[in-house]
Structures are given as C-alpha cells and as structure tokens.
C-alpha cells in the first residue's frame, strides 16, 4: 500500500494512469487488436463503442490481463503487464472490472461477495471490511439485500452489487464491459444511475457500452473501434455532431 502511495507522490500528476503503446493481439491467426495506442489520465471517463467483434471488450480485458497481448506495451499505474504473475495481481487489485453477466459468486451472500477481495487480497480485518461493504451497498441503494444470495436478486440489483464489489477494492480505475447489455430495459437505468454517480465522484472509468445517452452526458472522450483499430476518438460533442470518419458515420447512423 505505502509503496504505491509513495509512487503516486513521486509521479507528476499528468502521468497517465493507463498507457497502451503500439499494442497488438492475435487469437490464433486472427488479428483482434492492431496497433492500439491509448493514454488514460486519472479521473478521465472514456466510453468505447463500436460494432460487435471490433475488439472493444478485448481491449479493456487486456488492461487487467484477462487477455494476454502479444506485442507492444501496457502500463497500468506504473506497472508494466508482462508474464510476471505478481505484477498482474498488483495491477488487478488497482483495476476494478464489471462484467456483462455480473459474475457474482453464487455460493456467497452479497456481503461475502463484497468482502472477499478486501479480506483476502487487501488483508482488511473482517469487521472493517464488513463496514466498508455496507457503505458501498448503501451507495448502490441495495443495503437491505446484504444477507441474500445473488440468485435471489434481479439482474439490475446483481449488477449494482457487482459494481459495489469492485469498489470495495478501492480501485484507481474501473473497467465496465457492456454492463447493461444483459439487463431488461427497465433495469438499465438503475445501473446507469450508479455509474453516473461514480463518474461524478471522479472515478477513472473505461466503459464499453452501446448506451449513447450515457456517453453523451458522462464521457470526457468517446472512442470508436472497428476491425481491432481505434478509428476515431473525440469529445462526445464533436464525436456525435461531427464525426470525422466514414466508418464512424455509418456506425452512428445505424445505432442512433
């Protein structure tokens, strides 16, 4: 803990929290990600969009090494991702991830889902972890469900629990991999509201989503990916009102 804090002090504040330099990734022969360059500043909110199969999920999954990249460099919070498992675990404790299908642990109560990481990874005493977990559950408006099991909750509630679970690790960055795609329409809003709150508090966020309303109102930068490349990135206003690339225009015309 102390070490990372000292590092933060030593770093100039404009040093990106995430740096991706000429990164490539292949699945067998298939070139999923091609020459990705990306800098994310602390507190920046980025929305990544693009057609399915464009590599947007793969990109954010590379950032906490759920996927391996084959060429180039990914540096998160000053730690380069290599095969070194210690470095990978260190990065993962600083980077929270929210999945499309929530991936809560069905054999644990909501409270236990939240405290698992803090207790075993951060070595937080159980009582303290419980208190923190309850605080975050309140934040996502779900504290009364603490002792239930994930299977007893609705999809929207489960996704809010998943967000709270990531927050309990006190991450510096939050990755969202299509967090509302598996939800019924009436539950999307409750999850987006929690994400908007989070953005307003200054959390660094990378969000893969098709919710363009969210992108317009929250993002600092919108990124469009197609065929494993970052085609275009811009402020939401320019991105939606004045897209530069033909491919972006086509994509926007299809979804808006």
């Amino acid at each position: 803990m102390n070490q990372t804090e000292n590092q933060d002090v030593a770093q100039p504040t404009d040093r990106p929290i995430i740096e991706v330099n000429s990164m490539h990734k292949w699945y067998g022969d298939f070139h999923v990600l091609s020459d990705i360059n990306l800098q994310v500043q602390l507190k920046e909110r980025i929305v990544i969009c693009g057609p399915s199969g464009s590599g947007k999920s793969t990109l954010i999954r590379c950032i906490n090494r759920l996927e391996e990249h084959q060429r180039g460099q990914i540096i998160v919070n000053g730690t380069e991702l290599t095969n070194d498992i210690k470095n990978i675990e260190k990065v993962r404790t600083e980077v929270g991830m929210v999945f499309q299908h929530f991936n809560l642990f069905p054999h644990l109560t909501i409270l236990e889902n939240l405290t698992l990481g803090p207790i075993w990874v951060r070595k937080t005493p159980k009582k303290e972890a419980d208190e923190m977990a309850m605080m975050y559950l309140e934040k996502v408006h779900i504290a009364e469900q603490a002792l239930k099991y994930p299977g007893q909750l609705s999809g929207g509630q489960q996704q809010r629990v998943a967000i709270a679970r990531s927050l309990c690790m006190k991450p510096k960055v939050m990755l969202f991999d299509e967090p509302t795609s598996a939800l019924d329409p009436e539950m999307i809003k409750e999850v987006l509201d929690v994400m908007i709150d989070l953005a307003e508090e200054g959390m660094t966020m990378l969000v893969v989503t098709h919710e363009m309303g969210f992108a317009k109102s929250v993002a600092d930068r919108v990124m469009f990916m197609d065929y494993g490349e970052i085609v275009e990135q811009n402020t939401p206003q320019t991105f939606f009102d004045n897209p530069q690339h033909e491919r972006t225009k086509l994509f926007l015309s299809q979804i808006l």
Partner: protein, 363 residues
Amino acid sequence: MTNPPSATREYLKPPITEVGVLGWLRGNLFNSWYNSLLTVLVLLALWQVVPPFFNWAFINSVWNSPAEACRDIDGACWSVIPQNISFIIFGFFPDGQQWRPGLAMLLMIGLVIYSKDRKHWKKSLGTYWLVGLVVMATLMYGGVFGMPVVETDQWSGLPLTFMLALFGMVAAYPLGVLLALGRRSRMPAIKTLCVVYIEMIRGVPLISLLFMSSVMFPLFLPEGVTIDKVLRAQVAIILFTAAYIAEVVRGGLQAMARGQFEAADSLGLNYNQTMRLVILPQALKIVIPPTVGQMLSAFKDTSLVVIIALYDVLKTTKVTLSNPKWTGYSTEAYIALAIFYFICCFAMSNYSRKLEKALHTGH
C-alpha cells in the same frame, strides 16, 4: 395465489375420478389396457412371493437359539447372527480384549455423527479427529496402560471394515481434488503426471491393486523392511478411490463458468485463493451426487480385501458359516449382512441429499 377474475365465479371441484386415491390409481396404474394388465400381473407375482417370504422370515423363524433348535424348523434361523456375534464383529481380536475395538468403533461413529453438522465444521473439528485417531490407534494396538499389544493381523471384522472404508474415503477425497486440479494445471509436467496416474489406476481393477500391494510390492522392498499388510491394503484403497474422485471433481471444475475465474482474477485473488474460495466450493457442490456414488462403491469395495487374507466383516461371516454347526444358514447370514451394508450406504446418501439442500443458494 392470485384472486380469481371475478368474485362471483363459482368454484368447481375437479371430477372425483381425477383426484384422491381413485384418481391416482387411474392415472398411474390403470391408465391404459397394457398398464392395467401389468398392474394385475405384478400384483399376482407379489402375492406368490411376499407371503411365503414373510412366513419364512418372521412367522416360522427363530431369533436366538442354539444351532440344534434350527434343525427342526421350516423358517429362517436368524440365530446364526446373535450366536456368533462376537466373532462376526471382532473376528480374531483376542477374547477379553474386545472392548477395545468396540470402544474405538463407538468413538469413530461418534466423531462421524458429530462431523455431520455443518455448524461443527471448524478448526476444532480437525483437532478432535486427530485426538480421536490417536485414541483409536492406542485402543486397537495397545502396548500402554496395561493393554497387551494386538498386532494388526488380528484386527478384523467390523472395525477393520469401518477403518478401511472411513480412512479410504477421508484420505482419497482431498487427494482426488488435488489430482483433479493437477490434471487441469497449465504446467505440463504436473498435468502429465496426474493424467498418467489417474488413467493407470482407473485401468486396473481394485483386486489387482490389492494383489500388487500384498504380493508384489514387498518384493521391491529391501530385505528386513516390511510395511504392515493392513496399511498396504488401506493405501491401495485410498489410491484407487482417489483416481475416481479426481475424475468426478474434474467434471465439476469443467462445469464452472469462465466468468467465475475471471471475476476472481479481476479482484486480484491468486490461484490458491481463487480455487479455495470461489471455484472449489461451487464445483464440489455440483458433484456431490457422483462423489457419493464413488464413496458408496469405496465402502462396499472394502469387502474385496478378503482376497489378500484380511478378515473384514464379510469374511468373518463366511468363516462363521464354515463352522459345520452353522453351515446351512448362509441365506440368513448374508441377508443380515446386506441389511448392514444397506443401512450404512443409505445413511450416507441420505446425508448427502440433506447437505445438497443445505448448500443450495437459489441459483
């Protein structure tokens, strides 16, 4: 549950032929002409078999009499069990010392019953078992507190069956889980080792493993070194059961969604924590039914140790029957033994169903 569309609607009962005993009979036994025929045939067969058996087993039988009294009766001679009970249960354990295995068995059963309750699954449980094991071993082997030494080749009957079965299962389970994890390991050396082990053990019958442990294995030991025969049989049973458990557990591991691994990874849990806290609790729960199946066969397979001249409860019963006085009553003896095995197995599968229910969390 919900209110009917209008409060004025008349509530009608279903026709009498559809519900109750009559409805059940119609629906299940006489719902077509061939089912009706089958029902009648089965009833006839039962009528032929059940009353005579009942007469033999309960009406004309004797329950506790000398062998001579069995000569003149038409029914079952259950006396073969009570009259030989101490040999069937304790085998060749010396007379006058048989309270020792008796006490050890009671202690073991007590510990098993205590362990059934999930509330007791704490660190202290391990301590109790450790103390219990030392006490049981002391009781069986003796040599202290004025108890004469009883060598393991005199351990026989029920205590031997229970010992081989319980330690076979308890030791095979964690070994099987490790083998399953090893088989899914990314490290080629560990993976190959586990695959070879599992496939080799599963490729041979338990009998041949027992033979190897008792006949071949000692040939490879240096002169003067001997390993206890009971221990060798015990190890063979453990190794055998573990290979089967490993494949069952692997099935559970493969049933786990990738998202569970990813969620654990993304929290920063390491491999051991991921397995212990997230994956195994779920995977092992999924495979409770087949695991219990393996446990039941392990329990029943302990009777195979007769072929290496260990006297488990089946063998002591057989020895009893070879006594000319009792030779004719094997049906009764084997029925009694079958009931014993059934009670043990049924208790296990019953417990496993309760455990499954208790672990269900609504997903």
